[in-house]
């Protein structure tokens, strides 16, 4: 119904000032855009799409409606790749 998403085991987000954000995965490096990094950064121990949207809305002041579609799509893409689990 309303699944909670979090980074899968052994998947690490690396966000450092002055460097492009990276998702570090088994023997691989995924370069993230700023919005994907922001979404993954909010996940912590597990968040629903609504919770991620609320957190991003507070941070970026985008409309919640425009955020929700992006967030769901991004999380599903990462889930399909095995980097995020529900």
């Amino acid at each position: 119904m309303n699944p909670r998403y979090r980074l899968a085991r052994g998947i690490r987000l690396r966000c450092e000032a002055g460097a492009e954000p990276l998702l570090l995965v088994p023997e691989g490096i995924v370069t993230l855009n700023v919005s994907a990094a922001a979404i993954l950064e909010t996940l912590g121990e597990g968040k629903s799409v609504d919770e991620v949207v609320a957190a991003l809305h507070e941070r970026f002041d985008d409309s919640e409606a425009s955020l929700a579609g992006d967030v769901r799509e991004t999380l599903e893409d990462f889930a399909a790749a095995g980097f995020v689990e529900r």
């Binding site: 899968a8 085991r9 998947i11 690396r14 990276l22 570090l24 088994p26 023997e27 691989g28």
Partner: protein, 367 residues
Amino acid sequence: MNASAAAVPAPRSLLCELTYRCNLQCPYCYNPLDLGRSSDELSEAAWLRVIDEAIGLGIVQIGFSGGEPTLRRRELVAMTERATAGGAYTNLITQGTFLDDALLDQLLAAGLAHVQISIQAPERELAATIAGTDVHERKVEVIERVRSRDVALTLNCVLHRLNHDSLPAILAFAEEHGIRRLELANVQFYGWALRNRSALMPTREQVEHGAVLVAAAQDRLRGKMDVTYVLPDYFEELPKPCMHGWGNVAMTVTPAGTVVPCQGAVAITGLDFPNVGTTTLREAWYASAAFNRFRGNAWMPEPCRSCDRREEDFGGCRCQAFLLTGDAAATDPACAKSPDHGIVVAYRDASSVEERWAPRRPQPALP
């Protein structure tokens, strides 16, 4: 001839081969025939300096391999800790027999992110035949131990003629043990595997049937298990984009501290590879003649030089070119356009010949 320093990208990944020692004797090992002496292995202090220098160069992926890296458990833990502190992702590539609870606890506390465990076959007897020792049950215990912990786990099985027909059983084994990532890589012919090539070469039927089986499994297991199947070079018509280019992304440090663009490159004679005992990783990467030798495409012969795929596959594998033709600057014979492609065709077509193999083991010491 050499790429200009300004054009050289920073390295992103480092493979540390902690030792060539191993308690298994798999005939498909890519380690060199000359396994060297353990007394020549880098010290813990030297390895930690390698890690520090790697972090300083911008490396974010670090692998620990061998031989069997857990034979140097203290160094392995210390290096994992240092790499993690530097923000790097750490991968342990192991056959698993020494990964007990105590070591796993230490490694996870040090920040280890990913463990890749290899099996020789899903059946105990065949696994023992290939490994030269009966450790399959121990590995199964280790797989169960690791899958319950907070770390990524990949199961790996190198495929060759002796175990290729076990592919359905490998898939079943992986499912039974809740594996999320399964890597089925056909043997590539370097080191001991090259020595044992005629015994290990899969048949065309095995390779093609394997591809069909894996495609079906990928469909069936989508979302549950990620299955990768790597074809053997000798059965491809295009070469692999080896290491994404020589000295382009990755480097390896061997047990005795030699810095090479990939673990197979130690076989290439005539290139004076740097050693961490006398140089820094930075000098090795940016300034050594060996790393600059095959950068860019000015070194390429025809048909690579005018090939529209030269920026995609970089002429293939330098080590394979050397091992098959004696010239590391030749087009990889795996490529159908190579004038030497007949070499791989002859070997793959001879793959049904029965032959014994030489178990990997240290060579007798020279007098």
